[in-house]
Structure formats: C-alpha cells, structure tokens
C-alpha cells in the first residue's frame, strides 16, 4: 500500500490533509527539490502532487524521476491559480513522442 504525498505552500495544501494525503509544507524551491528526492527515495509514495510554483523551480529533480514507473509526480495548480504549467507538461510529452505538437495547436 502506498501513500499520496503533496508538496506546496500552506494555503494550497492544507485542505488535502483532510483527505488523508501526506502533506509537506514547503516555501522555497530548494527545499522542495530536496523533499522530492526524499519522498522518492523513501519508496512509500506512489503519487506525489506538487504545486505549479514549486514545480517550476524543481524541474531538474522531477526530470530525474520522469522515466521511472513510480512515483508519478503530478503538477497541480496552487492556490494562486493555474498558469497552465500542467498543460505545458502534457504538451511537451506529445512533442517528445510525436515530434510535433498535434493536440494543442488548434487551441492557440
């Protein structure tokens, strides 16, 4: 059995406590990077959600675990609202696979 973790600022993640997520309150990017590595290495987490703001500054760490089957590190918008970074991730996966962006070009 695995845990679901969430990394983000206080306002964004507090409510997830009530759902039984393992909440990790992080303010700055450096700590977030360390936290990601720590959670992945512990092996207890299958899913780690991370808020967009922190995802932007921890690209390096996330890239390391991108091609591993577990855990899934998924970007969610923070309490400041979505800046479309999660969508950009899907887009980059499409570009990587297909070589061109074929899903999003109509919407722009």
């Amino acid at each position: 059995m695995y845990k679901i973790g969430i990394i983000g600022d206080r306002d964004s993640v507090l409510g997830f406590m009530a759902l039984g997520f393992a909440v990790h309150e992080i303010q700055n990017g450096e700590d977030a990077g360390k936290k990601i590595s720590e959670l992945v290495k512990s092996g207890e987490y299958a899913v780690i959600f991370i808020t967009e703001d922190l995802a932007l500054v921890t690209e390096e760490e996330r890239a390391k675990y991108k091609d591993m089957p577990l855990p899934a590190i998924t970007v969610i918008p923070s309490s400041k609202g979505s800046r479309g970074y999660g969508m950009a991730n899907i887009k980059s996966a499409v570009e990587r696979a297909v070589g061109a962006d074929i899903l999003f070009k109509d919407s722009e």
Binding site: M1, I4, G15, L19, A46, A72, I76, I90, L103
Partner: protein, 227 residues
C-alpha cells in the same frame, strides 16, 4: 554515408544479404510497434487533457472556497480540524503492460472506520464555518480524478519515452543500416561481375593466342613438307 568495407567475396555477400533481410523484418516490426504505441499514447493524452481541464477548474473553485473558509477561521483551529482525516485512503498500485512498457495503474479506495462514517466531517461543526465543509466536499469529489490524472500523466510520460526510442530505432534502420547494407551488396556484386568479365576476356584472349600458335605451327609443318 560511411560505407561498410568488406571483402568482395560471395561469402560476404551472402552474409550481408541475410543481415539485410533481418534488418528489413526488424524495421517492419518496429514500425508497427511505433504506430500502435502512438495510437495508445494519443488515447491516453486525449483523456488526460480533458481530465486536467476539469480538475484544474474544480481545484480553482475549491481554492476559492477554502480561502474564504480559512480567512474566517483561526489558523490553529483550522489545522486542528483538518489534521485527523476521516477517510483513510488506500492506494494500490498494479502494473500493466502496454506494448511492453510497464506502466502503473492506481486504484484508490477509501476505508472508513464505522465511527468515522457516522460523522460527515472529521471535525466538530461548532467551531468551523460552513464554507469549510463545502470546499472540502468539493475536494473530496475530485479526489478520484486527481489520482486518475496522476496515473494517466505517468503513463503518457513512459509511453512518450518508449515512442522516442522506437522512432530512433526505426529511423536508424531505415536511413542508415539498410542503405548501407544495400550499398555494400551492390559493391560486391559489381566487383564480382567485373572479375567475371575480366576472366571471360582473358579466356578469349588465351584462346585466340592458342589458335594463332596452332595456325603458325600448321604453316611451318606445311612448309617443311613442301621442301
């Protein structure tokens, strides 16, 4: 293009020909694999995109509600009321084989204790605002979508990696290996043909020379007889 340097012998040509056939079969198989991977990948990505749009919208609503609730509550009290979850989520992970890519599948189930099930929230209603209840219920509603989204995004990442690899292999076979083999086979064939022609002309020349010699020898014999 760098050519393969080989000895122009029939043996080598045979070897190259069989390698070419193998390469062609491999190329066809990999191409099929790439197409099927692409099909499955696009299915996953389309669903993921729709799901993300929905989830992001729902999360935005939730954040709005929650910030109202947290503004009207004492921060300590708020944390206290959230800290013991009513639901204990169980996340099981199984692995699925998608075109020989191992991808995880998450299944989320809630195990509620009987005592907890009796209450609708994990905190007393007396000291918290109604906004909190509403926003938390909203969040609970998208929980499954969140897990599904994580699953789909992971699958998309893994499939994308595999497609990239397969595409490289297909291209390497199609544009480098197979033309190289063909070129090498052609070179050997031309060399062999050239040798063959050289041999024929040599034989013809030798035959001519022998005939000439015979003719001359015959002449000499005649002359002797005449004498």
């Amino acid at each position: 293009m760098a050519e393969i340097r080989v000895n122009p012998t029939r043996m080598e040509m045979k070897k190259l020909q069989s390698r070419y056939t193998t390469a062609r079969r491999g190329h066809k198989l990999l191409k099929d694999k790439r197409d099927e991977l692409m099909k499955q990948f696009l299915e996953v990505v389309r669903e993921d995109k729709a799901l993300r749009e929905r989830v992001e919208k729902a999360l935005e609503l939730y954040y709005k509600g929650f910030s109202v609730a947290s503004a009207s509550a004492n921060p300590k009290m708020l944390e206290e009321s959230l800290i013991c979850p009513k639901k204990e989520g169980k996340l099981e992970v199984t692995y699925k084989n998608m075109m020989s890519v191992t991808v995880p599948e998450f299944s989320y189930s809630e195990a509620e204790s009987e005592e907890a099930a009796a209450q609708s929230f994990n905190y007393g209603l007396a000291f918290t605002s109604g906004d909190l209840d509403v926003s938390l219920r909203e969040l609970g509603g998208i929980l499954e979508d969140l897990v599904r989204m994580a699953e789909l995004e992971k699958q998309a990442q893994l499939l994308a990696e595999e497609i990239e690899k397969t595409r490289r292999r297909v291209n390497a076979l199609e544009y480098i290996m197979m033309p190289q083999y063909l070129a090498a086979i052609k070179t050997i064939k031309m060399k062999l043909d050239e040798n063959e022609r050289g041999n024929t002309t040599r034989l013809m020349k030798v035959k001519d020379m022998m005939l000439e010699e015979q003719r001359r020898a015959g002449k000499e014999v005649q002359e002797e007889e005449e004498e």
